[in-house]
């Protein structure tokens, strides 16, 4: 069966090549768009995931890290007194204006935390002088012409970009500017009695859901989330509420649909081209399963070859795209997922062809 399916495909090499190219394009589209979606999702919560905190406390209704609001700074001391809390810290974050000496202005997202909570977030160490900041390498050319230290102004406060960091390229097009907590509140003009997020570390072995509930009871006017909950909340906000995720998901689905149509069309054309052979098979006693198997195997062959070709193009394309969209990310598991989707697509696509092959009248073999 496999030999016949394969030989039939190769018998018309041009058609086979066109089919494989079509599927390769669809596979590429699906993988790349899914990579955009995954990268967007991860980028939406990257900062939250990078801080070293178990629980976040914030003003009610804050949907994500980027759109913070102020809360009472003394919340930190009050949270410290809740059973199960090992340590508390603060984060200040907000959009403000960054200005270069030449007058160039750029909206940036300034963020700073107490150092012991910084985790993987770039941190200005206390050894540096006050009003120092770090910018990501992807924004360095724009903000400091690639050179540090560079004198700048943030929200009309003088400051210095003291260094360049990596791994935190801008998510919304507004570069991140990393500072110490006390500089962040200055740059953002947060009053001394206010902060923006309170971070909590739980004592070792503490059940985080229970601690979260105790903190919620203690601060009924604030939102209290575990880190993973806040991360999910931020992702949902960016993916669903802003519509950005919907657009990316639709593109990935579009890739699937294009692939489905391409494979359906070509499989059907190939089947109809060989319909006399299917009639012969039926006449000489081939079971419906055998006929079905040939069409399915042909479709799967096309899918597998198309997937392999499409995947080859994904990494180079993603590397090129990162110059424009820094958070494009195609994890390795994506290839497996798209392979399975492609095979499913092939199985779906050949259903019409299978019907045609099975329903062909074997009596037509007697026509000359």
């Amino acid at each position: 069966m496999i030999a016949l399916a394969w030989r039939n495909l190769l018998h018309d090499r041009t058609r086979f090549a066109v089919t494989v190219l079509g599927i390769a394009f669809a596979v590429f589209l699906m993988t790349f768009q899914s990579g955009l979606l995954v990268g967007f999702t991860l980028a939406a919560s990257r900062v939250i995931d990078s801080y070293d905190a178990d629980i976040w406390i914030m003003p009610r209704g804050v949907p994500c890290f980027d759109f913070a609001a102020t809360l009472e700074e003394r919340t930190r001391e009050l949270a410290q007194g809740v059973a199960g809390v090992a340590d508390t810290g603060r984060v200040a974050a907000g959009f403000t204006v960054f200005q270069k000496p030449d007058g160039y202005r750029q909206t940036v997202l300034v963020l700073g935390s107490d150092e012991r909570f910084a985790g993987a977030v770039p941190q200005v160490h206390t050894g540096l002088r006050r009003e120092s900041a770090l910018v990501d390498e992807t924004d360095a050319a724009l903000l400091v012409a690639g050179h540090t230290p560079a004198a700048i102004e943030i929200n009309s406060h003088r400051g210095t970009v003291a260094g360049i960091t990596t791994g935190f390229s801008s998510f919304l097009g507004s570069p991140y500017v990393f500072t110490a907590y006390h500089d962040a509140v200055d740059f953002l003009r947060v009053p001394p009695e206010k902060s923006m997020f309170i971070l909590v570390k739980a004592v070792h072995g503490q059940d985080l859901a229970q601690l979260r509930d105790r903190l919620r009871a203690r601060f009924p006017n604030y939102d209290v989330w575990t880190s993973s909950e806040f991360s999910t909340r931020a992702r949902k906000y960016w993916l669903i509420q802003t519509g950005a995720g919907g657009a990316l998901s639709l593109s990935a689905i579009l890739g699937f649909v294009i692939g489905l149509v391409l494979i359906s069309q070509t499989t059907y054309a190939t089947t109809m081209e060989n319909i006399e052979e299917y009639a012969t098979l039926k006449a000489v006693g081939a079971s419906r399963g055998f006929v079905r198997g040939i069409v399915l195997v042909q479709s799967m062959f096309c899918g597998a070859c198309g997937a392999a070709l499409g995947f080859i193009a994904v990494d180079p394309a993603a590397n090129l795209a990162r110059a424009l969209v820094t958070w494009v990310f195609v994890p390795r598991w994506m290839f497996l997922a798209v392979t399975l989707a492609t095979l499913l697509m092939c199985a779906l696509a050949c259903t019409i062809s299978i019907r045609a092959a099975i329903r062909v009248e074997p009596g037509r073999v007697f026509r000359a």
């Binding site: 069966m1 030999a3 016949l4 030989r7 039939n8 190769l10 018998h11 006399e276 052979e277 012969t280 098979l281 039926k282 006449a283 000489v284 006693g285 081939a286 079971s287 419906r288 055998f290 074997p362 009596g363 073999v365 007697f366 026509r367 000359a368």
Partner: protein, 232 residues
């Protein structure tokens, strides 16, 4: 010699078949009753539209008659399921077609082996049997040739090898010589007779070619869906 072992391998009794419905209905078989003996080659002749190929299709379990009885190797087949008819075609009947109906993407050996593959024969055995069948028909030098590399006569011999390789008791051939030149046609006719006589199969051949009468044990002349004349 054959009188001792005379067996009716194929038979039809009162078979009616109509194509189309209502005003467009065309009766193609009108109460056909006849039998085909094991070890004999029967020639079905008649003008176009006389019902020869329709009768062959009914005998081959490809068409189901509107009424009447059809028996293949003693088994009544007129009312069995489609799957059972498919299995019967697979196990009991070998077909030879006017247009050869070989698979262009497969070579001669693979075309013949396909018949065995459908019968569930293991790869090694089916290749051996296919090779033997082709060699038996003088095609040992053409095993790896694709159909487009074969002459018409060679293609029909490959088709005949495909029809007999799984050892069916019945061979049905539709105009097997129509696409061949004269010499190749007569060679195929001789082979079909040999298949009937030597291998003790029941061979039914539909043909316009009157020269085949010389090779047949038995001839049926059809006209307007009926058997007009029967010759031994």
């Amino acid at each position: 010699m054959h009188s001792e072992s005379r067996t009716i391998a194929l038979s039809v009794r009162g078979v009616h078949l109509t194509f189309g419905k209502g005003a467009a209905a065309v009766p193609v078989l009108r109460g056909i009753t006849t039998g085909f003996e094991q070890g004999e080659m029967t020639l079905l002749t008649g003008p176009s539209g006389s019902g020869k190929t329709s009768l062959l299709s009914v005998l081959g379990c490809i068409l189901r008659p509107d009424s009447g009885e059809v028996e293949v190797m003693g088994q009544s087949v007129a009312r069995i399921s489609e799957d059972a008819r498919t299995r019967l075609r697979l196990n009991r009947i070998g077909f030879v077609f006017q247009a050869f109906r070989l698979f262009d993407s497969l070579d001669a050996l693979e075309n013949v082996a396909l018949s065995l593959r459908l019968n569930g024969v293991r790869r090694r055995e089916r290749m051996e049997r296919a090779r033997a069948a082709l060699s038996g028909l003088g095609l040992e030098a053409k095993l790896r040739c694709k159909p487009n590399e074969l002459s018409g006569g060679e293609k029909q011999r490959v088709a005949l090898a495909r029809a007999i390789v799984h050892d069916p008791p019945v061979i049905l051939a539709d105009e097997p010589t129509a696409s061949l030149d004269s010499a190749a046609g007569l060679k195929v006719a001789a082979l079909l007779r040999e298949v009937a006589e030597v291998q003790r199969r029941t061979v039914v051949v539909v043909s316009h070619d009157e020269r085949l009468r010389a090779y047949a044990h038995h001839s049926l002349h059809m006209l307007d869906g009926q058997i007009l004349e029967e010759t031994k």
